[in-house]
Symmetry: C2
Subunit: 320 residues, 2 copies
DNA sequence: TCTTGCTATGAAATGCGTTTCATAAATTAA
DNA sequence: TTAATTTATGAAACGCATTTCATAGCAAGA
């Protein structure tokens, strides 16, 4: 394959001039520019991106760490990131972590090695003490409240959101409220857990471990929830389900088992995915695509560290 | 940041020796190896990946083109690719094409520029005359029958599969059968369309454009299908829905509208996603994760071009 | 003792584009 | 007309690791 030198020779100019043409720098006489372009055409010249990267020290590649790629929550988030990346001429390198710390570290190391320019971590696993070792290598952006860290973040105030949701159910007359969540650990889960505990003590209910359902990520997990519900002596009358798909699964399974919604069980979803609309699920709208966009913009801004809070909106439908 | 030269100087050896240590080449005396390792430790040496790429002419990056990232079909497929990529020390560069030809070409150009080592195209848009211009730059792997092309592929015989599914419904007593599909064009859609037309003429039914539903990708599209069904004078008695999520949406919507399944309408899904199991949807199991794995293995095999046919399995449940 | 062959090591070439620096030529301002 | 700019261009340095080639030392086999 022809390289810049061949083009220069062919066009009768220096490599510098070719580079100027390549990068649209000024100060190239029109006839020389033409000659260069023609030579490139003639040799079907392709510039070696790796040489460009080496030279410029940047790759136009941005890493995105998600626990799963085939989850609707991260699907929408990544879609938002991907759309904005496209607009800004960046490409995405996808890391599926499966919530394994090692995978996240691999991504951080790619940042360190400058194989990617920045890194977006959608659901952090590593502790901050690990993350902080890498902050010097490029922007790291989080999808959680990271205001105390030297990184950028786009986040939702999960404590407040969860509190509001619980209050809403309480105002609708529910006293026994449970919730379904994706994972036990994680900053977001912790915030929600705290909001839940605080809420319970405020309304004078005791904390019932049985009312919390973990690993509720997808449609299919709704079935397990209902199964456990059926085995309870004193089941909750309302459930906050932190994923519309899990909520939809729960609703579907309830219908099958003859549990009336919202009479026997009120269900509130999260995200406002299309499925929630179709199934008339009351939910909290989280602007995932918009968040993805913000995340990417923060990722490509290597100058400043910013924190953006995004607010959610209650969508009232028929399951509460 | 320290480079290989600094390390060499510090360890009192040549850069070649450092490179040997770096790449586990033989012929380095133990004490020198130690010295190099220590120097690397001391300077917290990170090798410049871009220099490695430039030098080696490879990137350990594989591109994956999907129309949407947040679609369960591609979600599972990419998961399969991602898992296998991890095992083989490759990373993925994700291209969301939105079925725009230009996006696919961008990916092909990255292959051409050697920014990625190979490319997996999950749902081709460009014509073969375009693709063939890029086959010389690295392996391009397709998720469709591409036996006639100089590329690798992992595919399903959609003609046969669709035919079998139609026969199955026919054997169950259905004469008026319609189908829902993602997009109008595309190799797979065409194969299915042909199977459908051939089937109709075989059973002596006339082709009814109304019985074909396009843009059926997700749960929410099921509702539209049912809406259209309700407006028909002579609706089909069975529907082949080429996505379990769309099938699930259809089932849900039918229940809401009082259409009994399978009595009034038989529904057969595709993929055997978890949602199909929960909702007892009869479906055709497509081993997406396994296909993803095969795709990746083909992508990293730069020597040979192979074609692997994958077979599907009928999962009988309650919607037919 | 003389080959042959392996072990060990480094200099230099290679991959390729960008950017800095120096210089020359052409304008514009004074 | 001279000084100050602006325009135009190229040589060389730079980013950095890999790999080829040459060489030297040493051991085993003939």
């Amino acid at each position: 394959m022809a390289n810049i030198k061949d083009i220069a020779k062919r066009a009768g100019v220096s490599v510098t001039t070719v580079s100027r043409v390549l990068n649209n720098h000024p100060y190239v006489r029109e006839d020389k520019r033409e000659a260069v372009l023609q030579a490139m055409e003639e040799f079907n010249y392709q510039r070696n991106i790796n040489a460009v990267h080496l030279s410029k020290g940047e790759t136009l590649l941005i890493g995105v760490v998600v626990p799963f790629t085939n989850h609707p929550y991260f699907g929408l988030l990544v879609e938002g990131v991907a759309n904005e990346a496209m607009k800004n001429n960046y490409k995405l390198v996808l890391f599926q972590s499966n919530y394994e710390e090692e995978r996240e570290i691999e991504a951080l190391k790619m940042l360190q090695h400058k194989q990617i320019d920045s890194l977006i971590i959608c659901s952090r696993i590593c502790g901050w003490e690990v993350i902080s070792q890498f902050t010097g290598y490029g922007p790291i952006v989080f999808c959680e409240d990271a205001r105390s860290q030297n990184v950028s973040s786009t986040f939702i105030d999960h404590y407040m959101t969860f509190t509001n949701a619980l209050e809403y159910l309480h105002n609708k007359g529910h006293q026994k409220i449970g919730y379904c969540i994706g994972r036990r650990s994680g900053a977001n889960s912790r915030q929600r857990g705290k909001a839940y505990a605080d809420f319970l003590s405020r309304i004078g209910e005791s904390y019932n471990e049985e009312y919390i359902f973990y690993e509720c990520l997808n449609f299919e997990h709704g079935e397990e929830v209902v199964q456990r519900l059926l085995n309870m002596d004193n089941p909750p009358s309302a459930l906050l389900v932190t994923s519309d798909f899990a909520a939809a699964g729960t609703v579907t399974s309830c219908r099958e088992k003859g549990i009336r919604i919202p009479e026997d069980l009120a269900i509130m979803g999260f995200d406002n995915q299309p499925i929630a609309k179709i199934m008339h699920i009351t939910t909290l709208e989280i602007p995932l695509v918009q968040m993805g966009k913000k995340l990417l913009l923060q990722a490509i801004d290597s100058e400043s560290r910013t924190h953006e809070e995004v607010s959610v909106k209650l969508i009232e439908r028929q399951t509460v």
